[in-house]
């Protein structure tokens, strides 16, 4: 038997928890998958015995209990798949294919600023935890539409030195977008501009963050989102434009994490 790099297995939901009106977590018992997972990777999920969702849904790994053997995903209801998944009960079986993709690289990082917009937080809580375990100084900057969308502060507190929050409507914390908040935070602070940025969020945020990083000469890694059919490089359905637009990477196998300068954020 060949040694598989990816697991293709069934796993039962052991917990579902609502964080706000549209965000929820699904926890699975899947010890082998948990052991193999690293921050920034994703798993393709399929709800067993549901026929009207055709494709698996790619979901970033949100938390991972390697000792206890669980794996958790943070989902936001945005469409048919995430709505259907929100109705599951503990004990329901999913098909899992993963871990997929190339995650974050923080081997040589001492200081990190994690920047997220909305549901983009999903892959960065796992990253914060793993960074903390390896003595990286982690600062976390979150952006949400409004206070009612805020989540994960409690989960993050043990792992981060500083947690700052921006809301678009000013209902909590910094009034404005997360990149505006980051700009305020790093202004004139040499210790912060020496940190590496790790980010996930909507394209408009990532584009403006990339510009800021170039201005401040900061290194950065971005986790991108893409439609895909397979998740392992076969359908070629998840192109991410190269920085000079001469071709494409695949989000699933070349990413989903890319370095600043390697890619162009598509319109």
């Amino acid at each position: 038997m060949r040694e598989p790099g990816k697991l293709l297995c069934e796993a039962a939901v052991i917990d579902i928890k609502w964080l706000n009106d549209s965000y929820y977590t699904l926890r699975f018992h899947s010890p082998e998958m948990a052991l193999r997972s690293s921050p920034g990777q994703f798993v393709n999920l399929k709800l067993s015995n549901v026929k009207d969702l055709l494709l698996r849904r790619p979901m970033s790994i949100y938390r991972c209990g390697k000792k206890e053997g669980w794996l958790e995903f943070l989902l936001k209801i945005v469409g048919r798949g995430t709505r259907t998944f929100s109705h599951v009960q503990p004990g329901d079986e999913f098909g899992l294919l993963g871990p997929l993709g190339r995650g974050f690289d923080f081997d040589d990082v001492n200081d990190a600023i994690l920047v997220v917009g909305g549901i983009g937080i999903a892959p960065l809580v796992f990253l914060a935890e793993e960074m903390h375990a390896r003595n990286v100084n982690v600062r976390f900057v979150q952006g949400f539409v409004s206070q009612s969308e805020m989540c994960c502060a409690e989960e993050l507190t043990p792992f981060v030195e500083e947690l700052q929050i921006a809301t678009d409507d000013g209902s909590y914390g910094f009034h404005g977008d997360v990149v505006g908040l980051l700009r305020e935070l790093i202004r004139g602070k040499a210790d912060l501009t020496g940190a590496e940025i790790f980010a996930c969020g909507p394209n408009v945020m990532m584009r403006s963050l990339a510009e800021l990083c170039v201005q401040e000469n900061m290194k950065a890694q971005f986790s991108v989102e893409a439609h895909m059919a397979c998740g392992f490089g076969v359908c070629v359905g998840c192109p991410v434009p190269l920085h000079n637009r001469s071709g494409y990477y695949l989000a699933c196998t070349d990413g989903p994490v890319f370095r600043l300068g390697d890619i162009d954020f598509a319109d």
Binding site: R56, F232, V234, V236, P239
Partner: protein, 304 residues
Amino acid sequence: MQTSLAVRLGKLELKNPILTASGTFGYGQEFDEFVDLNRLGGIITKSVTRNARIGNPPHRIVEVPGGLLNSIGLANVGVESFISDKMPFLRTLQCRKIVNIAGESLEEFAEVLTKLEESPEGIDGYEVNLSCPNVEEGGRTFGKDPKQVFLITQALRKITDRPLIVKLTPDCSDIGQLGLAAQEGGADILSAINTFVGMAIDSRKRKPVLGTVTGGFSGPALKSLALAKVYELGQTVSLPIIGIGGIFTLTDVIEFLLAGASAVQIGTANYIEPRISERLVDQLEGYCQENSIASVSELVGALE
């Protein structure tokens, strides 16, 4: 009881009728960790063109009711890299290796085929993609016109003695005429169907979802449409047919055989269940044993 899954399609012999459809199985190696590739009847590669193609702008994939739309645009490594980088792995396999070729002109098809013919061994046949809906020039235009289908098939026939499969588009008024044209041009086998042209719209943004506006529709909803096309071809041509379209289960496979297909291709299902092709081989074998079918070829066209 002893049962045989072997099928013969003209000069192409398969140990079983389960093939994987072009574009859904990469160059085979991508599935090596999921499937014992040697158990399959064969692999049909991603389309190979003269030069490498970067493919279409995003979005390229969207799920729609009953299936998915794709607009990949024949992204591939090009024929020379295919021969140097992909063929060495394919040559290690014992299943049939069928190379799907595509082009924007008759000359390109001929050039790709000529280059493949010059490469030694490891190729058991060719499938001619005359029906890609995602390339402006070429495929789509050729594929709908029986005269063009005849001319291209005839030109390629002169270049190779290996089994030549012509893959037909369903976006036509009379698939029987396309099949007859390929037959007259010297094709050995027909495969049907490629994707239907489809479109998805984001009403909120008032924009098409796919970067190229339209794309190819595949998935479960295709099955009944594909069965009708395979059946129609079976009534019209004498060539063996490979059925494609929305095959996810053993029952789907059997329905295509009954409709007149001598073999089938598994497409979209590979994305969702990477092990499905091998599982269908197992299930088909079990089915034949349970139903005392000595040879699976007894099922071909056995519609009552």
